[in-house]
């Protein structure tokens, strides 16, 4: 005798729904509450370190979108290149992270931020100083696990405690 056919199934379903009524809702109310994203995220911006960069343009060559544009000038007295312009059109960037993986001098990092929508298309093109790391523009630990300790641990839905 299967009791599922005699209304037990309905009773089970009703207990499930009433239990849900008293548990915590899993909704994250986004602008006010946010979860920490993964520390190894490929956020949608690039962080560029001018001191490490030699202007080799390996990043520009690996970029499948051809988004990175590097202009260098020879600095004869120091026997090296100086980067005059490092430009990324983040509007076309697909956040694949290949440039970060390719960089031989650890001068490129993926960003940790993700709220980078702009109102104008021109604002998406980021040049030199705009690409530096700062308080708001932190480096993600993608390809650079040594950076992971600076970033907060990722929060999952179950660990988070939200109030309405």
């Amino acid at each position: 005798m299967k009791f599922e056919r005699y209304g037990i199934g309905i009773a089970k379903g009703l207990t499930v729904t009433i239990r849900h009524l008293f548990r915590h809702p899993i909704t994250t109310q986004y602008p006010e509450q946010r979860l920490n994203i993964s520390r190894r995220t490929r956020g949608n911006e690039l962080i560029w370190d001018r001191n490490n960069c030699t202007g080799c343009a390996t990043c520009a060559k690996t970029c499948p979108q051809g988004v990175i544009h590097v202009v260098t000038a020879a600095k004869i007295d120091e026997n090296k290149y100086e980067v005059e312009k490092f430009e990324v059109d983040t509007g076309y960037c697909i956040s694949c992270g290949l440039c970060v993986e390719a960089c031989p001098f650890d001068a490129l990092f993926m960003g940790y931020a993700y709220e980078l929508a702009k109102y104008r298309r021109g604002e998406l093109v980021q040049t030199n100083e705009m690409l530096f790391a700062s308080e708001e523009r932190r480096r993600s630990a993608y390809m650079h696990p040594e950076l992971a300790d600076e970033l907060p641990r990722q929060t999952l839905l179950l660990e988070r405690n939200t109030e309405e």
């Binding site: 056919r5 379903g13 009703l14 729904t17 009433i18 809702p25 909704t27 309405e164």
Partner: protein
């Protein structure tokens, strides 16, 4: 105070309730306002309860932005829907399309005329109260069918046809389960029925309550019987082509019908306004909200039934059980009118469980070729 100079005052005063100065007109005016306010307020409360409660049951929050706990969300919805454009399809039957929401809404509001909020506090204490309710409540189906027909849309018509089929089928077990209550109470007047409930009739009539609840949910097309506006099948069913104020009226009808069924369940089975400590009208409101909460609960739990399952449930499950319930109630009322209530309660619960189990075993769809 309203005086009527043309009338013979002696004669006039005799037909007035003595405790109502100004008489019948006052009574009519006050209770009409009370009913409209009651319906509108509780419908907004219901919408809030349904959206929030169902949200929480699905581990969501539900609307919580407007006002404390999102309490003003129904108001915002109403404003939004009222300022929307009122569209009428080109090939629609314009008059029918316009009249449909009104025809659907009016009978729903008229049900509350006989629902007692306190002892004797009702618009019209009809001695055939519950018969009036049964008669008037199915009229709003005409409005729904007019909407389906007038829209000139196949989905609307399909939804409306389903609604008519459902209401015609479910009216029978609904009425038969009411008769059990009427037999015990010995009156058709809703106020008298409440006065007769020293024990709430849900205890004396558990099977009747179950049947009435299921049939009532089907009658007002709440999930899991919401076939007439099955969103995943029929766009929005009968009100696909409605917008603006007319849609608002249909939305109102949906919840006002739920409120009406909840009020009648409260009055017939849960002791109406009777209860300790709190004022009677508050008891009534609390019970009405609890009944509606159970409706929300079942809605968020059960998936929608198919149309053949809907019909089979009415004719093969509810109808025979309602007839048996009526027979058993009749025997009990005739044979042991003064029996110990607790013995009868135990007996009736046992009978209800046995009958439901037995009929679940016998229940087959489509000549038994398809099993549930």
């Amino acid at each position: 105070m309203i005086t009527s100079p043309g009338l013979n005052l002696e004669q006039y005063w005799q037909i007035l309730p003595p405790d109502w100065p100004g008489g019948f007109l006052w009574h009519w005016l006050v209770f009409t306002i009370i009913i409209i306010v009651f319906v509108l307020l509780l419908v907004m409360g219901y919408i809030w309860l349904e959206r929030r409660g169902m949200g929480r049951m699905q581990a969501r929050l539900g609307p919580n932005r407007l006002g404390p706990f999102g309490l003003l969300q129904p108001v915002a919805d109403a404003v939004k829907v009222l300022i929307k454009e009122d569209l009428v399809p080109t090939n629609a039957d314009k008059v029918v399309h316009l009249l449909a929401p009104i025809v659907a809404f009016t009978p729903t509001l008229m049900i509350f005329a006989v629902v007692p909020f306190q002892n004797g506090a009702l618009l019209a204490d009809l001695n055939i109260g519950i018969l009036y309710v049964v008669a008037i409540s199915s009229v709003s189906t005409v409005g729904v069918f007019m909407a389906g027909w007038g829209s000139n849309n196949k989905y609307s018509l399909l939804g409306a046809m389903r609604n008519v089929a459902a209401v015609v089928s479910y009216e029978i077990p609904l009425v038969l389960s009411i008769i059990g209550v009427v037999l015990i109470a010995g009156s058709l007047s809703l106020n008298q029925i409440v006065l007769a409930q020293d024990i709430p009739f849900i205890l004396l009539q558990p099977l009747g309550f179950l049947l009435f609840f299921i049939a009532g949910c089907a009658e007002i097309n709440r999930s899991p019987f919401d076939l007439m506006e099955a969103d995943s099948e029929l766009v929005a069913g009968f009100h696909t082509e409605y917008s603006g104020m007319k849609f608002a009226l249909f939305y109102l009808v949906e919840y006002a019908e739920a409120l009406a069924i909840a009020s009648i369940i409260t009055t017939l089975f849960l002791g109406g306004w009777r209860g300790p400590l709190l004022p009677p009208w508050l008891w009534f409101v609390i019970k009405v909200i609890i009944v509606f909460f159970v409706m929300v609960w079942t809605r968020s739990t059960l998936p929608r039934v198919r149309i053949d399952q809907l019909m089979a449930l009415a004719w093969k499950f509810l109808l025979p059980l309602a007839l048996i319930n009526l027979l058993i109630t009749g025997i009990q009322v005739l044979a042991w009118p003064d029996a110990l209530p607790w013995g009868v309660i135990f007996l009736n619960f046992a009978i209800a469980v046995v009958l439901v189990l037995l009929w679940s075993k016998l229940f087959k769809l489509g000549w038994g070729r398809v099993e549930v």
